[in-house]
Symmetry: C2
Subunit: 429 residues, 2 copies
C-alpha cells in the first residue's frame, strides 16, 4: 500500500480535530482510499504547548517551516493556522515546491483563492478547501461537482452559528439580544468582541466565496451589502410569530436580470421554509438551480471534529489523486462578468413596527402615506401600549428598498408617529 506523508501547519482546534479523525478512523481511511496517510511533521511555534498530546511514532513537531517546505518526502501540506500573511507564504511555498495543499482558511481563500488555484494547477498539484466555508457542511464539493450541471439562480444561507444561536435563544426563550449575547460569550460561542459575527461580516465573507463558485465570477467581501442583528428586538420576534415568521440572519446571493444581488441581513422567513427550522448554532445553505429546483445542506458550520471531517475528506481525495498520479485538475472557473446589482433596487416585502399616538384617525394617516408610496399592506396588527401610545406592526407588499426608505421618511414627518422602531425584510417561500 502506498504511504503518503503529510504535514500539518498549526495545531489548534481544527488541526486537532483533523489529527484525531486521522488517528481514530485510520483503518477506515486506508480501506476507503487504498492509501496509508501518515502525519510526518506538525509545524507549530511552540511544541511545549502540546506536550499533553501523544503523537504517533511517525510524527514530530517542527518549528522551522523550511523543514516542511524543503522536505521532498512530504507530498501534502495541510494549512490550518488561519490568517493571511504567513499562511499565504506557506501555501504559496508549498504549491511552488509541487506539494498538494489542503486548507481550512476562509480569509486566505477570499484574498488569494483564484491566484492559488491557478498556481496549484500550473504546478500540477491539488489545492482543496472544503473546510474553509461552513465547517462540516460539504458545500464546496456540492457546488463544484454535484450541482455543476445547474445554472445556480440563488443561494440563501444561515452561515454564522453565533448569530443563529442568539436569534434562536431570543425567539424560543423571549430573552433580549444583550442577555443572550452575554450568555453566548460566557459559553464561548461568541467572541469578547462579537462585531464580525453580529454585524454580519463573517457571513458576508462566506457568501462572497460561495457566490464566486456558484456564479462563476469573482466576488469580494466588499461587493456584499451587510446589515447585522444588533437592532433586532424581542418585540419584533413576537410580532413575526403572529404573522407566521421566524427571524434568521441570511446571506443571499441572487441572479437577477440586472445583475447579481449580494446581501447579508436579518429577515423574517415563513416558519414552513426549511431554513426556518435551523436552530441554535447549526448552519444551512439553500441552493436554487435550474435543474435541481432546490436543495438544502444542513449541519455543523464550525467545531473541531466537523471541520476536521471536511479537512480529512480533502486529504483523502488528494491522497487518492496522488496515488493515481492525477493531481492538478481543479481549476477556478471565473469566466463570467455579471454586474453587481444595487441593493436599493431589490424588491422585497417589509415588516415595519411603529409607535403612534393612540388616537382615532392615525391609522388613516398612516394608510394614506402607504398609498402615496404605492405600497399595499398585507397584514396589520395594532396593540395599545399605554393610554397615549399604540404599536402598529405592518407587513407590506413587495417593493424596492428605496420606496421603503421614502415611506419611513414620510412616517417620520407625521406628528402622530412617535417612532419607526423596526424595519425588517421578509423572505418569500
Amino acid at each position: 500500500m502506498t504511504t503518503i506523508k503529510i504535514a500539518l501547519l498549526g495545531f489548534g482546534t481544527v488541526a486537532q480535530g483533523t489529527f484525531n479523525l486521522l488517528q481514530d478512523n485510520a483503518e477506515l481511511i486506508k480501506n476507503r482510499t487504498g492509501v496509508n496517510v501518515e502525519i510526518s511533521k506538525i509545524y507549530v511555534r511552540n511544541p511545549e504547548k502540546y506536550s499533553h498530546i501523544t503523537l504517533p511514532e511517525t510524527a514530530k513537531y517542527v518549528t522551522d517551516i523550511d523543514e516542511v517546505l524543503k522536505d521532498d518526502s512530504i507530498q501534502m501540506v495541510v494549512e490550518l493556522m488561519g490568517g493571511t500573511s504567513f499562511a499565504k507564504d506557506c501555501v504559496e511555498g508549498a504549491l511552488k515546491a509541487k506539494k498538494n495543499v489542503v486548507t481550512a482558511n476562509k480569509d486566505l481563500l477570499a484574498e488569494a483563492g483564484p491566484y492559488l488555484l491557478d498556481l496549484a494547477s500550473k504546478n500540477g498539484v491539488d489545492l482543496r478547501f472544503e473546510a474553509s466555508v461552513l465547517g462540516g457542511i460539504p458545500i464546496i464539493r456540492t457546488l463544484y461537482e454535484s450541482l455543476a450541471g445547474n445554472r445556480i439562480t440563488e443561494i440563501i444561507g444561515i452561515m454564522n452559528g453565533t448569530t443563529n444561536f442568539i436569534l434562536t435563544k431570543m425567539s424560543e426563550e423571549g430573552l433580549s439580544y444583550q442577555d443572550v449575547l452575554k450568555e453566548a460569550q460566557d459559553l464561548g460561542y461568541a467572541e469578547a468582541d462579537p462585531t464580525a459575527d453580529v454585524e454580519g461580516l463573517d457571513a458576508a465573507r462566506k457568501l462572497a466565496i460561495l457566490a464566486s463558485i456558484s456564479f462563476n465570477r469573482r466576488i469580494f467581501f466588499e461587493d456584499v451589502t451587510v446589515e447585522g442583528i444588533t437592532c433586532i428586538d424581542t418585540e419584533d420576534i413576537k410580532f413575526g410569530k403572529e404573522f407566521g415568521y421566524n427571524i434568521k440572519l441570511l446571506g443571499i446571493a441572487k441572479e437577477t436580470a440586472q445583475g447579481l444581488s449580494l446581501n447579508v441581513y436579518p429577515a423574517f422567513i415563513p416558519t414552513t421554509h426549511p431554513l426556518a427550522s435551523v436552530r441554535g448554532s447549526y448552519n444551512a445553505i439553500y441552493v436554487k438551480g435550474n435543474g435541481i429546483d432546490d436543495v438544502m445542506l444542513y449541519g455543523r458550520g464550525a467545531g473541531s471534529l466537523p471541520t476536521g471531517s471536511s479537512v480529512v475528506s480533502d486529504i483523502m481525495e488528494v491522497a487518492k489523486n496522488v496515488s493515481y498520479n492525477e493531481t492538478g485538475r481543479l481549476k477556478p472557473f471565473y469566466y463570467d462578468q455579471k454586474d453587481i446589482y444595487s441593493p436599493g433596487k431589490i424588491q422585497s416585502s417589509y415588516y415595519l413596527r411603529l409607535a403612534v399616538d393612540n388616537k382615532t384617525g392615525v391609522l388613516a394617516k398612516i394608510s394614506a402615506k402607504l398609498a402615496e408610496q404605492k405600497i399595499s399592506v398585507l397584514s396589520i396588527v395594532q396593540r395599545n401600549m399605554d393610554p397615549e401610545t399604540a404599536v402598529l406592526a405592518i407587513v407590506t407588499s413587495k417593493c424596492p428598498r428605496s420606496y421603503i426608505l421614502n415611506l419611513i421618511d414620510s412616517f417620520n414627518s407625521l406628528r402622530s408617529v412617535k417612532a419607526v422602531n423596526s424595519v425588517i425584510r421578509i423572505m418569500e417561500a
Copy 2:
C-alpha cells in the same frame, strides 16, 4: 476543446430532463468541464413516440442497441431505461466495450451494483449512479467523498415522496389516508397500485443502497425490516401533535454494538428535529458520523429536471475524467461484515392508542400491565369518546420491541380494553 460523444438509453421522464439540461446549460457545461459533451445517439424502441422533440443536429434515434455498443466513437453510455434485465445487459455490454456508464437505475444498482462497479474498474472505465437514489439530492457523492473520513453511525431518511406527500396532507389538512391517497393518485403523485410506495418497499430499496455505501458492507433489500403507512390514522396524528411530534415514514440504518439495524417504518419525530420540517413530496437524508456530528441533505427526491441534474453532474465528472484520461478509479468498498441486528431487540419509545371501557379503575389495570412489562409511561392523554368508551394515548419509555408486543398481548387479555388501535415508534432527537 475535446468533444465526447454520449448515447442516451431510453427517453422517458429522466432522460428528457437530462437532455433538456444538456441543451439549456450547454455553454455552462463547456465552461465548467472544458469538454464539449455531444449527444450522438438516443436508443429507444419507438422513435415516433418522440417526434415532437427537436433533436440537435448531432443526435439521432437508434432502435438497435448494437448501434450504441459497437460504435467506437461513443465513449459514454447513459442508461435511463430502468428495469434490471435488458438494462443490465446494456450496462454490462457497455462496460465490456470500455465505455463509461452513467445510470439512474436503482433496481439495477441494488441487484448488481458491486459486480458492475468491479467490471467498470477492471475495464478502466467509470460507472456513476448519483441519480439512482433520491433524485436531485447529491447523497451518493456526499457519502463516497465528502463524508468519507467519518465512521457513519446512523442514516435516517425520508426517502419516498409519495408517502411524505400523503402524511403531510393528512397532518396539515386533517384528511384521511384513503382520501389523500386518492388525491395523490389523481395528481399522478401515486401509482394506481401504490404498494411499493405506501408499504415502504421503495424506501427499503433506497436504504439498502445508501447503507451499503455508509457501512462498507453489501446490504440487500431483504435485510431491511419494512412497515408501511397504511395503518396510520388521523386520530394518531392529532395525538402526536399534542405530544410535540410529526409523523414521517423513515428509513433508518444504525450501527449498534450487536450489528446493523435496518428498518423502514412510520415514526413520530419531535417537531424540532430538522427532518420534521420536510414537507410534501420533498425528501431528506440525515447522516450521523463520528466527525461531522450530523448533516442533513434536503431536496427533490424525484422529477425530470432534479434527477436529470444528478445525471448531468455524473456526465460532467466522467467527461472530465475521459478528457484527463483518468477513468476507472471508483471502486466499491465492501470490506466489512457486520451482522444484521434482529429488529425485535431494537429499543425505542412507543406511542400506543387504546380504546377502553369508560369506567373508574381501568387506568389502574392498564398501568399494572405496563409495570409488569417493566415499561414506564412518559405521557398519557385520556379522552372520552362516548359514555361507554375512552381513548388512551400513551407514550412509553424506551424498551425493546419484544416488550411492546408482550404488552399488547397482555392489554388484549384485559376485558376492559376494547382495542389496541395503534402502535407507533418514536424517534429520539
